[in-house]
């Protein structure tokens, strides 16, 4: 990108950074700086990721044997509910938008902060309040409805802390809405001079589209859960047929939010991957405009396909057909993205540092997750596969193989920018490979289990499924180890890592034109943008990049 930019400062002349702007607890908890709020978010969602992961670990241990011998059925049901609720609302949805999005959007568009910094801080406090309420409910006795809260089980039959759990989700919903609102306004209003819409990095497009979904879908969930709580407390028949309600109405409203929510989770990952793959292939993204349009198409069509979760629910056959065909339409832009990423590699000059390994992992796993989605969109096949482990495997390929890998890739890519330190690339590559291997071993057997008919949410199961379950649990232990590594070497780098230069990857975005870590006001002088993004060239020779990469490697061997 050709910019009239702040000068590239040598590392010796370390300027004031947002991290050195204050060291008191107060300076963090009352900060209005989007970069600090992003870090507050990152710390809290990481904690919750490991809480949700612990539940998953217990589930996988329980499933090693067909009998329910580790925990009781009630406990098992509470565990998978806890895993789902925490991972969906307290990790996946805020993961990339509230951390990387929060940190990078102003930097990438050349702004000094988000449009509404106080709202941004409020968003974090709402997240915290929601997390406290929900975790409180889960610790006080748990919830056994599953993260989907299907009625009438949740309204009339469950004896657990449904209302409290739902209240927490309701609160965290407002956190999402405020983040989304903030980002939409910021992208519209605060772009630097010359930063036209089609000069925006795809990460910004992705977070922008995600924000639109957050703002339009989340209120539907909030109101639906309120009505559910209303029915549970006052016994008003809205969803429960015994009281004269309609249980499918709940499913329609729930999935009207929860299907777009899938795109809330995966679109930001696509954005991250687009940034990394161009930088490490030293090439412009293939078909930039098509990529931007694909992001928007996914966001829009994503609102029209919720009924594909309900092919066997008792909705009409013809409704099923409409939702099926729309689901195939939404698969097209996703396919285009995979093709474009692959084409971007062609004639590139490819480097394989940790962020790129995570990214390549994303492309492969997201593709497998997407392709198996075609099975589930095929009506007659979905009848067999829905509510089996096939679905579990499918959405974990998208959510873990996709979102989590992209999140980790993004954290590794922007870590030098965020913290001003370089981590050990060797350890990071090791973790990436471990996670990729562990992930496949955990979830690929679940596809086979699903095709064979193993139902989901089963505490006990038929003995013939055991071998695959044991494989899956073995994979899960590798995966767990892989997830435990990054916090260790990343935290280590904060103390012992080399200082990073402003642009260690020799990358092209505006965020790399300011010091690492950036000053509190982001840019000494607001940059002026004069060209399209991803100004990479494979012919440039890789001297600079190579030198920085060697530095990374060197720091790895020293630490």
């Amino acid at each position: 990108m050709n910019t009239i930019a702040a000068p590239l400062l040598p590392p010796s002349e370390r300027p004031d950074s947002y991290l050195s702007a204050g060291y008191s607890v107060r300076s963090w908890l009352l900060t209005h700086d989007h970069k600090r709020i992003a870090i507050l978010f990152a710390v809290s969602i990481t904690l919750l990721f490991f809480v949700g992961g612990t539940a998953a670990a217990l589930i996988r241990i329980e499933l090693i044997t067909p009998a329910g011998d580790l925990v009781s059925a009630e406990t098992y049901n509470k565990l998978f509910t806890m895993h789902g609720v925490i991972m969906v609302w307290f990790f996946l949805i805020p993961s990339i938008p509230a951390t990387l999005g929060n940190f990078l959007i102003p930097l990438m568009i050349g702004a000094r902060d988000l449009a509404f910094p106080r709202l941004n801080l409020l968003s974090w406090y709402l997240y915290l309040a929601g997390a406290v309420v929900t975790i409180g409910a889960l610790l006080a006795g748990g919830v056994d409805t599953g993260w989907t809260f299907y009625t009438p089980f949740s309204t009339l039959f469950s004896n657990t802390y449904v209302i409290a759990a739902v209240a927490g989700v309701f609160i965290v919903g407002f956190s999402s809405i405020l983040t989304g609102l903030n980002i939409i306004v910021t992208v519209h209003e605060l772009r630097a001079p010359g930063m036209t819409w089609f000069r925006l990095p795809l990460f910004v497009w992705a977070i922008y589209a995600t924000s639109v979904i957050l703002v339009l879908a989340t209120p539907v969930l909030a109101m639906t859960l309120s009505l559910m709580a209303f029915e549970r407390i006052f016994r008003i028949g809205i969803f429960d047929p015994q009281l004269g309600g309609d249980p499918l109405l709940f499913q329609h409203l729930f999935w009207f939010y929860s299907h777009p929510a899938v795109y809330i989770m995966v679109l930001p990952g696509m954005g991250v991957v687009s940034e990394i793959i161009t930088c490490f292939a030293r090439k412009r993204i293939f078909g930039y405009r098509m990529m931007a349009y694909a992001i928007l198409a996914i966001a829009v069509i994503g609102f029209l396909v919720w009924g594909h979760h309900m092919f066997v629910s008792g909705q009409s056959v013809y409704a099923g057909m409409v939702f099926s065909v729309l689901s195939y339409l939404v698969a097209i832009p996703s396919a285009i993205k995979v093709f474009n990423w692959t084409a971007t590699l062609y004639k590139g000059s490819i480097h394989f540092e940790a962020p790129m390994l995570y990214t390549l992992g994303f492309v492969g796993l997201f593709m497998l997750g997407g392709l198996t989605g075609l099975f589930l969109a095929a009506l007659a096949l979905d009848v067999h596969l829905t509510d089996t482990y096939f679905v579990i495997a499918h959405f974990h390929y998208i959510m873990v193989g996709g979102t989590v890998l992209a999140y980790l890739g993004g954290i590794h890519y922007w870590w030098p920018k965020i913290t001003g330190r370089l981590y050990s690339d060797a350890w990071a590559r090791f973790a990436a490979i471990l996670i990729f291997a562990g992930f496949n071993l955990t979830f690929f057997p679940q596809y086979l289990l699903g095709v064979a008919g193993m139902p989901r949410r089963y505490h006990e199961y038929a003995p013939e499924f055991q071998v695959l379950h044991v494989l899956s649990s073995a994979g899960a232990s590798v995966l767990a180890l892989g997830f435990l590594l990054p916090p260790v070497y990343l935290l280590w780098s904060l103390r012992r890592g080399e200082h990073a230069t402003a642009n260690p990857w020799n990358a092209s975005g505006l965020e790399w034109r300011t010091s690492s870590p950036p000053p509190q006001e982001n840019f000494k002088e607001i940059p002026v943008v004069t060209g399209p993004p991803y100004d990479y060239s494979p012919q440039e020779g890789d001297s600079m990049f190579g030198q920085e990469a060697r530095e990374l490697g060197a720091s790895a061997s020293r630490s």
Partner: protein
């Protein structure tokens, strides 16, 4: 409110951001209320006769007066915006006070209606009683009646607080008045939908 926050380059950018922010917020609000309207439609299709019977128990006179009051308040808030654009600060304040007062009258009448509903045992799940043939759907109707009008009343309370705050602190800032006015109009529009759905079902 006259300064520029550090994230903005100039006043114009700050004002546009405030406007857009309010519009995006209202989009969220539309979807929020939208669920209730959708559930209302589904339930009305399920119990058409019960909804008609239940609707006859609402107080159409008070409902109509309240509609008139809110429409008038939208007019006065528009006058406030106009006044602030003309830099007539005292006039702006006055129209904002009138708007808030109209909102308060609306709430008082709504409270009176709620009291009447209470004495007629129309509060669902709380000594609800209705002619047996229509009781089931009528209870759902009144549940949605209280949910929608209650949520609307909460929004109106916030609206009154916002209008009074602007009158006290920011009557000079025409953009603050405009953004506050946007919110007020939205609350008003929600009522324009609620009024026929709740009061006029069987009176057409």
């Amino acid at each position: 409110m006259s300064g520029i926050a550090e994230q903005f380059e100039d006043v114009r950018q700050q004002e546009q951001s405030a406007h857009l922010g309010m519009w995006v917020f209202l989009a969220t609000e539309v979807l929020f209320f939208g669920v209730l309207f959708f559930v209302y439609s589904v339930m009305r299709a399920r119990y058409p006769a019960d909804f008609a019977a239940a609707s006859r128990h609402t107080d159409v006179a008070v409902g109509t007066i309240n509609t008139a009051i809110l429409l008038t308040s939208s007019f006065t808030v528009a006058l406030a915006v106009r006044a602030s654009q003309m830099q007539a600060v005292r006039l702006t304040r006055r129209w904002l006070w009138v708007t808030a007062a109209l909102g308060a009258v609306f709430l008082a009448l709504k409270g009176y209606e709620y009291y009447k509903d209470y004495s007629e045992h129309l509060i669902p799940a709380f000594r609800f009683s209705f002619e047996a043939a229509h009781a089931r759907g009528a209870e759902v109707f009144f549940a949605l009646y209280f949910a929608t009008t209650g949520l609307h009343a909460v929004h109106l309370c916030i609206g009154i607080a916002v209008v009074l705050l602007i009158a006290r602190n920011a009557a000079r800032n025409e953009h603050a008045v405009e953004v506050g006015g946007l919110y007020w109009h939205f609350v008003d529009i929600v009522w324009i939908f609620l009024y026929p759905l709740l009061y006029l079902v069987s009176r057409a």
